[in-house]
């Protein structure tokens, strides 16, 4: 009896997965796919975002390409190569002028005329300048295309920038992350397919449905944070207990993303649940302002000494110590002066 009851319940239950699948199928049935002809441009990057996207499951990438959208040019997954591929790009650009979505992955180097990234003999800057104006909108997938990412980390040798620095006059959606959660990207695409407009974004062009909240505010370890139970060191008893990772440098309090809510690739895991703090990969310049990843605050350059680098707190402690020392010295010299010269004479004192 129990078994049959369970079966009944299972039959009635609509899982999140089947719900989203249903939505996707419904969207396809409504014929929403025609307007959607995205072009994926790869620039200075590691293809991690595509790797992440290939592991998407609702809808999976096969469904996305074959049923929902017409993906005419994707340097990693397209069948065409060489001249044929470039031809494809040009063809479809002409055919769907003003209607296609341009998806950019990777940063665009701008130094020395952009020579640090070339595809088919042309620089990334050129390709973007050609493809961007005819698109309906641009989606920058990953932190590199959004904000420059690792390539743009100081000293940024190739002058790498995100799409927003180069393209104006087009709606640009940033879906940052290193890599971004495929759900955030597909959510953006499906939103566009369904409503024919781009989702609401924050000041940095990130869709608020995915980047509207801080990691810290819906992290499963937050109760430990509020209680003051912290991992002091990786591998200690507190770490085994699953306490908050704040003191080993978790950047959840400074990072906007949906990681704790949607997790990754259907394995119901995300970095903090695996025991490492968030490194803030969805924030602009995170290689510069979130490092060292296992410290609370970034290290600041101290202008004292040769290129010495100290943490903010050691700078602060030094300031306090030097102040205390200076006060001591000042007071002592006053005492010595009085011993030598006696109290200030009236004619020594000047009026203001």
């Amino acid at each position: 009896m129990t078994a049959s009851r369970e079966k009944n319940i299972a039959d009635l239950r609509l899982t999140r997965r089947s719900f989203i699948k249903g939505c996707a199928v419904a969207a396809a049935a409504l014929g929403l796919s025609e307007s959607m002809v995205p072009r994926l441009l790869h620039f200075q990057e590691c293809t991690g975002c595509t790797e992440s996207l290939l592991r998407a499951s609702h809808p999976d990438i096969g469904k996305l390409i074959l049923e929902l959208i017409s993906l005419d040019y994707h340097e990693t997954v397209m069948a065409a190569a060489g001249y044929q591929a470039e031809e494809n790009l040009r063809e479809t650009m002409k055919k769907y002028q003003g209607k296609y979505l341009c998806v950019v992955e990777g940063a665009i180097p701008t130094k020395d005329g952009g020579v640090y990234c070339k595809i088919g003999g042309r620089t990334a800057m050129d390709i973007l300048a050609e493809v961007a104006p005819g698109s309906a909108a641009i989606i920058a997938i990953g932190s590199c295309a959004s904000f420059g990412g690792l390539q743009a980390a100081a000293p940024n040798p190739t002058g790498a920038v995100g799409v927003r620095e180069l393209v104006t006059g087009k709606p640009i959606i940033n879906v940052p992350g290193c890599p971004p959660n495929p759900i955030s990207f597909l959510g953006t695409v499906l939103h566009y397919l369904t409503f024919k407009r781009l989702p609401v974004t924050d000041d940095q062009g990130r869709p608020v449905f995915a980047y509207g909240r801080k990691i810290h505010d819906h992290c499963e370890r937050r109760a430990h944070f509020d209680e003051g139970r912290f991992v002091e060191q990786y591998g200690d008893e507190s770490h085994r207990q699953g306490y908050c990772l704040y003191k080993v440098g978790c950047k959840g309090p400074a990072t906007f993303s949906n990681c704790p809510a949607v997790r990754f690739n259907d394995v119901e895991q995300w970095p903090v649940s695996a025991g490492h703090g968030c490194i803030g990969c969805t924030e602009p310049g995170f290689w510069d302002n979130m490092t060292p990843f296992e410290e609370r605050l970034p290290e600041v350059k101290v202008p004292l000494g040769e290129g010495s680098v100290g943490s903010a707190v050691s700078v602060g402690r030094k300031v306090a110590l030097v102040t205390a020392g200076a006060i001591g010295l000042h007071a002592a010299s006053g005492v010595v002066r009085r011993l030598v010269k006696g109290t200030a004479k009236k004619d020594e004192v000047r009026e203001d």
């Binding site: 924050d202 000041d203 940095q204 509207g212 909240r213 801080k214 944070f225 509020d226 209680e227 003051g228 139970r229 912290f230 002091e232 507190s238 207990q241 306490y243 704040y246 003191k247 950047k251 309090p253 400074a254 990072t255 906007f256 803030g280 924030e283 602009p284 310049g285 995170f286 302002n289 979130m290 609370r296 605050l297 970034p298 600041v300 903010a312 707190v313 700078v315 602060g316 300031v319 306090a320 102040t323 205390a324 006060i327 000042h330 007071a331 010299s333 006053g334 002066r337 109290t343 200030a344 009236k346 020594e348 004192v349 000047r350 009026e351 203001d352």
Partner: protein, 221 residues
């Protein structure tokens, strides 16, 4: 034994003195709780399963003290423009000849090089420091609100424009805390030093409002 003749003058009004002590109290709380938020150093070792919400409560104290500090700053700015002569900001900024002279005079004074008779209000060096402190307080207030309301569209807008992100704002907020520690140390020392050197009753002036000067000052009534 040298004898001075002191005359008691009224220097600071009650509102000015009250805001001073609110600054003192709220800064103490803000520095302590703020440092604790940076590095919560005393709880992990306690038993699990407690219900005291240490970090949450300390954050609450920090926010509450922040609002009180903001209130005191507002009153102080009002007094800078509408307070009595000593309370006005223009009385102690090196923006005229008298105060420029006083500015260098104060430096020579503190270096034990040439002593300088205390005036009824602040000297120009102090006034300049207070202005700097006020500007840094504004940075603290803006970065504080940005950190406290990260999801509010308008704070996000200004926070991004000023600091370029949450983590940078946190960094700025943290480093300026050390200015306030520095300021508190020097401020207390200088006040005591002046009292010892010139017997003007500077320390008690911020409680009673009166200073003692050992010369006749025609401009004071």
């Amino acid at each position: 034994m040298r004898r001075y003749e002191f005359t008691k003058y009224r220097a600071f009004g009650p509102l000015y003195r009250i805001t001073h002590w609110i600054f003192a109290g709220s800064c103490l709380v803000l520095i302590f709780t703020g440092y604790y938020i940076y590095n919560p150093w005393f709880t992990t070792m306690l038993e699990t399963g407690t219900d005291d919400f240490t970090v949450a409560n300390i954050r609450f104290l920090h926010f509450a003290a922040g609002y009180i500090f903001l209130g005191a700053v507002t009153v102080r700015v009002y007094l800078w423009f509408f307070g009595n002569k000593q309370e006005r900001i223009t009385d102690a900024l090196p923006i005229n000849k008298r105060n420029l002279k006083n500015f260098w005079g104060a430096i020579l004074n503190y270096l034990y090089i040439k002593f300088h008779v205390p005036r009824l209000g602040h000297n120009a060096l102090a006034g300049t420091t207070y202005l700097v402190t006020f500007l840094l307080s504004m940075v603290m207030i803006v970065s504080g609100f940005y950190l406290m309301f990260p999801e509010s569209a308008s704070w996000q807008h200004w926070g991004l424009a000023f600091f370029g992100g949450q983590q940078n704002a946190r960094m700025v907020h943290f480093i300026i805390m050390f200015y306030f520690i520095f300021f508190a140390m020097v401020h207390i020392y200088i006040a005591i030093w002046n009292d010892v050197m010139f017997g003007e009753g500077l320390v008690s002036a911020i409680i009673s409002g009166s200073k003692f000067l050992h010369i006749k000052r025609p401009e004071v009534d």
